[in-house]
């Protein structure tokens, strides 16, 4: 099985190049709450419930700080709920739809400048 370490990330039909070791995603599968229930006499069972409020996917990473990226990121910020992100590497592919840029990107001008971008939206397809 091939290790996944170098994905191609496409956001709204544009390929983005991420700083090494900065890209990650959370699928939005949601958290499951597990609670112990006492039946008396030392008997215990568990109740399981899904917290649907946590079913939000999360994609984030750092891209280079340059004029093109700043302009593209500003355009993406305006597309509330309309961003589509594809992550693929070899035969692995995940697609995120109805995404919005959730952070207000900080443009830090420095050596090896970086532009952090974060998206949240529907659970991964």
């Amino acid at each position: 099985m091939a290790t996944l370490y170098d994905p191609t990330v496409v956001i709204n039909n544009r390929q983005y190049y991420f700083k090494p070791n900065t890209f990650s995603y959370i699928g939005g599968l949601g958290e499951t709450s597990v609670e112990a229930l006492s039946g008396g006499g030392g008997t215990v069972t568990t109740a399981h419930s899904e917290d649907v409020s946590t079913k939000v996917s999360h994609v984030k990473g750092m891209i280079d700080l340059n004029r093109t990226n700043i302009e593209n990121v500003e355009a993406l910020k305006n597309l509330v709920g309309l961003c589509v992100i594809t992550v693929h590497e070899n035969d692995f592919q995940k697609v995120f739809v109805h995404m919005s840029m959730s952070n207000d990107p900080e443009n830090s001008f420095k050596v090896n400048p970086e532009l952090p971008i974060e998206f949240k939206g529907d659970p991964v397809l």
């Binding site: 496409v10 709204n12 039909n13 544009r14 390929q15 309309l82 594809t86 697609v95 739809v97």
Partner: protein, 155 residues
């Protein structure tokens, strides 16, 4: 096959042999259908630059073109994309011509299935190079030199 004819087209479609991926609001899609549009007036500068390089390539092809023109003057005016590509490939500006062509595609002259109009390097990199050149030949015949060739051949 694209040839110079009496009617100007505003678009034509090209079927790729392998599908390319694009995104719309609903997710990831694949298509083999390219829809190519004539450059709008907004792109007149880019069109002029491409036309200039194409005509220069034709002129650089050789001195016997005038004789050939005279021999063919009674024949129906037609120019095949392969002839155009042959003339362009012989020129050292071929790489620049391809770049100019790709810039036109990224500025509104191409859509995928008529749906995706935001064309980026991501899409163009998925197209086989031979097929991209074939598209370029057809595009140049249809939209870049058609009007000029008609005028020249009418004289």
């Amino acid at each position: 096959m694209a040839t110079i004819n009496d009617t100007y087209k505003s678009d034509f479609t090209f079927e790729l042999s392998n599908p390319i991926s694009y995104q719309d609001e609903t997710g990831q899609k694949e298509t083999k259908t390219l829809v190519l549009y004539a450059p709008s007036n907004k792109l007149s500068k880019q069109k002029a630059k491409l036309r200039q390089k194409v005509i220069a390539s034709f002129l650089a092809l050789g001195g016997n073109s005038n004789n050939q023109n005279k021999a063919n003057e009674n024949e129906k005016a037609s120019l095949e994309p392969e002839q155009v590509l042959f003339a362009l490939a012989a020129n050292d500006k071929f790489v620049e011509i391809k770049q100019e062509f790709c810039d036109l595609l990224k500025n509104g002259c191409l859509s995928l299935e008529g749906n995706c109009n935001t064309i980026t390097d991501y899409h163009l990199q998925q197209i086989d190079d031979e097929e991209l050149e074939e598209v370029m030949g057809q595009y140049i015949v249809n939209f870049i030199i058609a009007s000029w060739m008609k005028r020249l051949l009418a004289k």
